[in-house]
């Protein structure tokens, strides 16, 4: 599999980019040229320069430094959301797929109910209900999105539950927990990996959207969506302000989506045979 991974250029490049972005975010204090919170109101909307490589924003803060620090909430919260949704989705999906019967009925009907609402509207509703804060945005996203994963994972599990190795395990009396975690979970790992990388892309967009609308990350924390929101206020007078956060979001989300596709190619054995 390692060889197949290296042969797939998209996979290699996208994974490298994502890792690079993550590293930049982790080492933000070392890399950022300026303090992202340091305002200098007289020097607002400055042009690109050596001191401020991407110029300054409406309060004279260094845009590049804010972009770099912004990786932390943007990517960090997205990964947190992804772990939450995949976690809940995987557990319930495996249970529904393996146990069938009443367990499946209950879980899948709940999933149907959740999926019958448009997700964005539901996120707004939950945020409105719980109040505006980062924590609630994460909760809302997890709450809305798990159902989708539960359904996908259930389908994956159903393919494996009647395979010989599972039936053998059952015959020799292995506990259910063993079958679930040692047989089924590893079998669907490749599905999970693809879903997870697609989900991060979705989560980044969603969290940025909420911040853009003023419901997510609050000022002065630098977050790409929130930065875009502030840039929107000067759309006609300083359109350049939108470029950095806008391109960054598009690029990172594209990266995750392409990575998802490429990982599926790498992990899917059928792909090689062709």
């Amino acid at each position: 599999m390692g060889k197949r991974f290296l042969q797939n250029k998209t996979a290699v490049i996208t994974v490298l980019i994502v890792l690079l972005v993550a590293l930049i975010g982790i080492f933000a204090p070392v890399i950022a040229p300026n303090d992202p919170y340091e305002t200098n109101i007289i020097n607002k909307f400055a042009d690109y320069s050596l001191e401020y490589p991407l110029g300054t924003d409406q309060l004279g803060r260094c845009v590049l430094s804010r972009m770099i620090y912004g990786i932390r909430p943007t990517l960090g919260l997205a990964i947190l959301t992804m772990l939450g949704t995949i976690g809940i989705g995987a557990i319930l999906g495996i249970m529904a797929g393996y146990f069938r019967g009443i367990v499946e009925e209950v879980i899948m009907r709940v999933v149907d109910v959740m999926l019958s609402f448009p997700s964005q509207i539901m996120v707004f509703a939950v945020v409105a209900l719980l109040g505006v804060s980062v924590q609630n945005v994460i909760i809302a996203n997890i709450f809305i999105k798990w159902a989708w994963y539960a359904r996908m994972i259930r389908t994956g599990v159903m393919q494996y539950r009647d395979r010989n190795f599972v039936q053998f395990s059952r015959c020799v009396g292995m506990p259910e927990r063993f079958i679930l975690f040692k047989h089924l979970l590893p079998s669907i790992t490749s599905d999970l990996a693809v879903l997870a990388s697609l989900d991060v892309g979705w989560a980044i967009i969603n969290i940025s959207t909420l911040s853009f609308l003023g419901l997510g990350v609050q000022a002065p924390t630098p977050e790409w969506g929130a930065m875009l929101n502030e840039a929107k206020e000067v759309l006609t007078s300083n359109p350049v302000q939108m470029i950095a956060p806008g391109i960054a979001i598009v690029a990172l989300v594209c990266c995750f989506n392409l990575m998802g596709d490429a990982l599926r190619d790498v992990l899917d054995p059928k792909e090689v045979k062709q």
Partner: protein, 531 residues
């Protein structure tokens, strides 16, 4: 893989074109109307006209002023007759006798004589509690109409701002008695019929309102025959709409930011106009808050505020830094108060003395309590958020943590009135309301002032002086009382003055006659015309 990439690019392009379409979409029908007709004006506002009942405070004031007239009007040179042709004031200043203009009709045909005006006054007085900011309500003995064209108001004491209050856009504006419900207006009206230069002909809530010229108007007919007011809440969308010719005029204090104005300063297609300072942009500190009840903290905040930087940095000098709650040009307010100069070291020192020591996280603590305050701003205003963020970073430097919180206009006002804030943006009321009406408004829950001042030890004393100042007839005594009130409020440091706001207008250069009225909330459409 290649195909997928192309698809992604295409999707991106589509997203961009959708964005670009936002500015103009949804309005193909009226686009360009402003070009081909020169008696139609398309105006813009950030919110709906709402309830235009002239005796209540929910509607947009510019619209109320278009539809209704008052007894007198306030001009730069003093008072002028409006629905009242002339008036006499008795020697003791208690009885006002108005001679009502003859031949004025409401736009539904009803004659506007002393009886109609009496019906209006009765409707206003029936809702007395709502008008507590008008001191004359407390002094009113009675109103009467001895004949069809004479109207008399009797007060218990002489009251110097009487004509000013009668000349304000609301509540003393006259609506047709046919619109009243059982002779009252406090629970709503069934039509918006006035005697003003325009009539409301059509409106769709949160979309637009159409005003057409009142051809039977008693005064000089305005040149603009039809005014369409569109609702565009977003600043940038408004500017794009102006650029595309969809609207002709943007007018108001919080409708344009300084960046947009400086962008059009040298444009041929569009003209920028700025009024003289109208009112003071300030922050009200809630003295009932645990932390802010200490006057030292409030004074430290004053010293920590760099007004010059706000004026220069955020407004490019369009709005001058404000030293006191009322500008020196406001009547009775040139009393030589010493401004709190910007000195962050002094501010830190004062906080230190008050027992707030710097914690490890860069925020000050006292007895385990964090020095954290919430600043509420109006998210419909184009600059308050920027100022909030600036102050947040400035105050953070001396160890005060500020949480900023924006709400749309109505809920911001509700919160302010209910006192649900630590710090809140506010403006003084401007001419002709300053200082008498806005001070009077501090003695009752009108805006946030009343709630914010509850923690002051000398609140009762201040209120008493405000009540006295309005009824005193002696000029020296009046000045003394004003000096007392303003000095107390200044020393108590309840208000952090920021800048002197001015009215701003940006309009297509074809439009002439744009100027600013004496009342900052009024838009003088009557004088505008197209070249």
């Amino acid at each position: 893989m290649k195909k997928r990439f192309v698809a992604a690019m295409l999707a991106g392009t589509m997203a961009f074109s959708m964005l670009a379409g936002c500015g103009t979409s949804g309005d193909t029908s009226s686009a360009g109307t402003s070009e081909n007709s020169n008696s139609e004006l398309v105006f813009v506002n950030y919110r709906d006209i709402r309830d235009l009942n002239p005796h209540l405070y929910a509607g947009e004031m510019y619209a109320q002023s278009m539809l209704y007239d008052t007894l007198v009007s306030i001009t730069d040179d003093g008072y002028e007759g409006c629905l009242a042709e002339s008036w006499e004031i008795s020697e003791d200043g208690k009885i006002y006798t108005f001679k009502i203009r003859e031949g004025v009709t409401f736009s539904d045909g009803e004659i506007c004589d002393a009886n109609a005006i009496l019906a209006n006054f009765n409707a206003i007085i029936a809702n007395k509690e709502r008008h507590t900011w008008l001191e004359m309500m407390n002094l009113l003995v009675g109103v009467s109409a001895p004949d069809d064209y004479t109207f008399v108001i009797e007060l218990s004491e002489a009251y110097y701002p009487m004509l000013t209050e009668l000349g304000c856009i609301r509540p003393f504006a006259m609506i047709s008695p046919n619109c009243m419900i059982d002779g009252e207006t406090k629970d709503g009206v069934n039509g918006y019929i006035g005697t003003g230069p325009y009539v409301l002909t059509d409106f769709v809530t949160d979309e637009y309102a159409v005003f057409e010229r009142n051809e039977n108007y008693w005064g000089e007919l305005p040149a603009i025959e039809k005014i369409t007011v569109k609702v565009i809440p977003d600043n940038q969308t408004r500017i794009m709409a102006l650029e595309s010719g969809e609207i002709d005029l943007i007018f108001g204090k919080n409708m344009l930011d300084a960046d947009a104005i400086s962008q059009y300063e040298n444009s041929d297609k569009f003209t920028v106009a700025l009024s003289d300072p109208t009112s003071t942009r300030h922050i009200v500190l809630n003295t009932t808050n645990d932390i802010l009840s200490d006057v030292t903290i409030r004074q430290a905040l004053q010293h920590a505020t760099d007004r010059t930087a706000i004026s220069e940095g955020i407004f490019y000098g369009l709005e001058q830094p404000a030293d006191t709650l009322y500008s020196k040009t406001v009547p009775y307010c040139d009393i030589g108060l010493e401004p709190y100069e910007y000195d962050s070291d002094k501010a830190s020192e004062m906080l230190e003395q008050a027992g707030w020591a710097m914690g490890k996280d860069g925020v000050r603590y006292k007895d385990g309590k964090k020095l954290e305050l919430e600043l509420l701003y109006n998210s419909d205003s184009v600059t308050e958020k920027t100022i909030s963020e600036y102050l947040q970073s400035e105050y953070a430097k001396i160890g005060i943590s500020i949480k900023i919180h924006g709400e749309e206009e109505q809920s911001y006002r509700d919160n302010m009135k209910a006192g649900n804030f630590d710090m809140v943006f506010n403006i003084s009321w401007g001419m002709p309301y300053d200082p008498q009406s806005s001070l009077s408004g501090m003695t009752a829950p009108v805006y946030g002032d009343y709630a914010a001042q509850q923690g002051l030890e000398d609140k009762a004393e201040i209120d008493k002086a405000i009540a006295e100042v309005l009824t005193t007839t002696d000029e020296t005594e009046r000045q003394e009382l004003y000096t007392f009130v303003l000095t107390r409020l200044h020393e108590d440091a309840v208000y952090i003055p920021l800048t002197y706001e001015c009215n701003k207008a940006l309009y297509t250069s074809d439009l002439e006659g744009v100027h600013f009225g004496t009342d900052q909330y009024d838009v003088p459409f009557a004088d505008m015309y197209f070249e």
